[in-house]
Amino acid sequence: MPAMNAVPLSWYLILSAILFSLGVAGFLFRRNIITVFMSIELMLNAVNLSFVAFSHQLRQVDGQIFTFFVMVVAAAEAAVGLAIILTVFKNRQTLTIDEVSSLKN
């Protein structure tokens, strides 16, 4: 048990790994397209956490800058992704991901 005022950096990394896995889990097990998309966001967040943790360890800003750019990308993805989801919904009237599987084999 470390000192009260000191958290091992590895704990942050572990936490980020857990969150990432949760994101993956969400992608695998959720059946609502939007939720699936949100789990991707969760994955990105998890990655950001490790970026920041590393940048703290390395005493650099670069990690945080990465985080910054990832957020921008996430925003862009969100806009486009939601637009795509909208069109899908328009054509199929469903948000269940398993229904969107007419292209196969």
């Binding site: 572990i14 969150l19 059946r31 398993d98």
Partner: protein
């Protein structure tokens, strides 16, 4: 004082993450995602990344999630169908995930000894530093992100326009 804080928010984030995965209703998932983001923002503060923490709240929890919820509302997405149709995910999902997580955790552990402890204030970066390196070292990426945003706009226009003329 950090340890309890860390543990607390780590717990919250994991809990919210789990609820995102288990909740059947998209809104609930969205809210729990917001929870995750908030707690992560706090951890950012612990790590001394004030600006990022702020952006995390403003951009992520604010803008992006609002967009999500807006869409959910727009499509009034209800609770999802109980039964999934993907046998691979049902069969291999859990085992694979456990293996994946175990693998990562193990690797991090092998690496842990060489890692320092995190002390609050050991390193704090304000907007200034960040901005400076953004406009010097990371000038090009910064400019390029504008292209990204442009594409996002275009995409929204192309896909969401009333109908193609």
């Amino acid at each position: 004082m950090e340890l309890p804080v860390f543990l607390l928010f780590a717990f919250i984030s994991i809990a919210c993450g789990v609820s995102l995965v288990v909740q059947r209703h998209p809104i609930a998932s969205a809210l729990s995602l917001i929870g995750v983001m908030g707690s992560i923002a706090v951890l950012y503060l612990l790590l001394g990344a004030e600006f990022i923490a702020a952006v995390q709240l403003i951009v992520y929890a604010g803008a992006i999630m609002v967009l999500f919820i807006f869409v959910i509302m727009l499509l009034n997405a209800g609770a999802e169908s109980p039964m999934g149709k993907s046998w691979p995910s049902r069969l291999f999902g859990i085992p694979l995930l456990t293996v994946f997580l175990a693998l990562l955790a193990y690797l991090i552990q092998t690496y842990a000894p060489s890692l320092p402890n995190v002390r609050f204030g050991a390193m704090t970066t304000g907007a200034g530093e960040l901005g400076r390196s953004l406009f010097t070292k990371y000038l090009l990426p910064f400019e390029v992100t504008s292209v990204l945003v442009l594409i996002a706009i275009l995409g929204a226009v192309v896909l969401a326009r009333k109908e193609i003329d």
